[in-house]
Amino acid sequence: MKLHEYQAKGIFADAGIPVPDSRLASSVDEVMDAVEDIGYPAAIKAQVHVGGRGKAGGIKIATSDEEAREAAEDILGMDLKGYTVEEVLVEAGVDFENELYVGITMDRGEGEPVAMVSTQGGVDIEEVAAETPEAIAREHIDPAFGLHPYQARKVVYEAGIERDVAGDVASIVSTLYDLYEERDAADIEINPVMVTADREVVAADAVMNIDEDALFRQPELAEMEDEAAEDDLEAKANDYGFDYVRLSGNVGIIGNGAGLVMTTLDLVDHYGGSPANFLDIGGGAKAERVTNALDMVFSDENVDAVVFNIFGGITRGDEVAKGINEALEQFDEIPKQVVVRLAGTNAEEGMEILNTDLVQVESTLEDAVQRAVANAKEVNQ
């Protein structure tokens, strides 16, 4: 789960990391009130979950009331890579000499967190990592012991941070690690940390992604989840508790188990179709869950045909079949052709109760996918 910049900055500021003075605003009037408090220059920054906001026109610097009003009018309500901007952060501009990078993430290969520091801040750090990996100093952290202060100093000196600010940057690294651990972050990052002419360090941006599996013990962060940041169908999937990803194609896909659902998507592509979504109903699904899954794909107007692929382990074929029947019997006319393939636990019982007047049935994965792809093509003819 991603936090907005203003949310992450609030957490950073509470932990003692210096951040610029700022206000959140959701209307032009609120932006004007904020600049009156903060003064010029002020940065007006879209609060949406997309990278590269600046390049996309989501960040503007204002030096006068006229510019602030214009920026507020431009940014509020704009569409930024598919997301509508509803809030902006109005922030005191920082006059800086250098831009640094500081981040903590999980190195999954090592199974350990890693702290990263670089003097190449303010740019796309993934590009720096790919082109000049030596420009980023790294220090792995034993998760049982946490980050020792000497490690924070070590990574800062190795990165070549200037001596007069090295202590302050090391302190930011330590604080970030504490937050990473306490708040169950998946990634935590400041890009850039600005170094001012007075040799102060300031967090000019803030990225914090939280491990969704740990939200049960982070209730305060769970409340910050922004439903507006999702597309309507993704929000609906969230309510139903499905793993769901919307894609651009027209074959709706429902299955159980992430690996098998991904495989079904890949096969739709392989046989010349285009997947509309990833939808995993999970293990042990009962009839109601199956009904909800069909409701999901039927509400996607891009979907022309549906393939339902179940290989039961925990999940029972008869429960799935019952759910499919119940879902489809509600319709006078079924909105999209559904192909069903049931295998594994209680698949035979499932096939016996499945109402084949409502669905098409195939016994192999390959046949089911090919039939759904053909159905989708027929709709478009």
Binding site: G111, P113, D211, A214, G259, L260, V261, L265, D266, F278
Partner: protein, 289 residues
């Protein structure tokens, strides 16, 4: 022959009094697994499906001479449950639980490096040596005893590929689920090493997916160390970058690592054919035998 489990394996079920724990204990017993004890704090002295329950894993292991455990404990307590199993000590711990916080698993992973216990998972379907023993939630009826080893990051994909093999009369030595999380115990390389050393395993299927670099590491291991032929499958060719595809570990990074393409290329370079469909994987295995 088999790897990691056989009909001598004596199993403790952690979380045996919960719905999943109870149901799958019955399934495991039906399959012939020696489930000898359950372990649930505060439930010592009870019985589930005729199996005695103890308060601690240590006591269960000592009293019933167990050497493996299966973890059906909810995510909030599963990290602690795995620590308890590692401390007991057992030879093998199979963690079925999905959704354990990653930082908890980082701590478990650290502990693993200090003990002699093997961990499978978490977020895995378990392990089965057909006809002998199954630890986990795999549907026993689709497996047949035979000479193909299988290792996979995904449960249902395992079932799919196994059914493609079994339908052609190709049985399995052992099928191992290693789990779909970013930090797991046993890796592809560990499993491949075990299959390479097993004289009865004539060929191996490896099912990977997007995310991480475990498949690339496995490809290097296969090229340098394996004589047993391997066929592969990689799920997630159509996955968009930056989106989590169900499994916590299945996410293609924005910088382009962990893609299906890089994994398929690495495997092909190591001489491992990768099927476009699960059925094609079975074709490759049939050719090997």
């Amino acid at each position: 022959m088999s790897v990691f489990v056989d009909d001598d394996t004596r199993v403790v079920v952690q979380g045996i009094t919960g719905g999943e724990g109870k149901f799958h204990t019955e399934q495991m017993l039906d399959y012939g697994t020696n489930v000898v004890a359950g372990a649930v704090p505060g439930k010592g002295g009870q019985e589930v499906a005729g199996v005695p329950v103890y308060d601690t894993v240590t006591e269960a292991a000592r009293e019933e001479d167990a050497d493996a455990s299966v973890v059906f404990v909810p995510p909030a307590f599963a990290g602690d449950a795995i620590f308890e199993a590692l401390d007991s000590p057992l030879d093998l711990v199979v963690a079925i639980t999905e959704g354990i916080p990653t930082q908890d698993m980082a701590k478990v992973n650290k502990r693993l490096s200090e003990v002699d216990t093997r961990l499978l998972g978490p977020n895995c379907p378990g392990i089965i040596t057909p006809g002998e023993s199954k630890l986990g939630i795999l549907p026993g009826n689709i497996f047949e005893s035979g000479d193909v080893g299988l290792v996979s990051r995904s449960g249902t994909l395992t079932y799919q590929v196994v059914s493609n093999l079994t339908e052609r009369g190709i049985g399995q030595t052992t099928a191992i689920g290693i789990g779909g999380d970013p930090i797991i115990g046993t890796s592809f390389v560990d499993a491949l090493e075990a299959f390479e050393a097993d004289k009865d395993t004539e060929a191996v299927v490896m099912c990977g997916e997007i995310g991480g670099e475990d498949e690339e590491q496995a490809a290097r291991y296969i090229a340098e160390n394996m004589d047993t032929p391997v066929a592969g499958f990689i799920a997630g060719r159509t996955a968009p970058p930056g989106k989590r595809m169900g499994h916590a570990g299945a996410i293609v990074s924005g910088s382009g690592t962990g893609t299906a393409e890089s994994k398929i290329d690495a495997l092909n370079d190591a001489g491992v054919p990768v099927g476009d469909t699960p059925n094609e994987v079975a074709d490759y295995i049939e050719d090997y035998l």
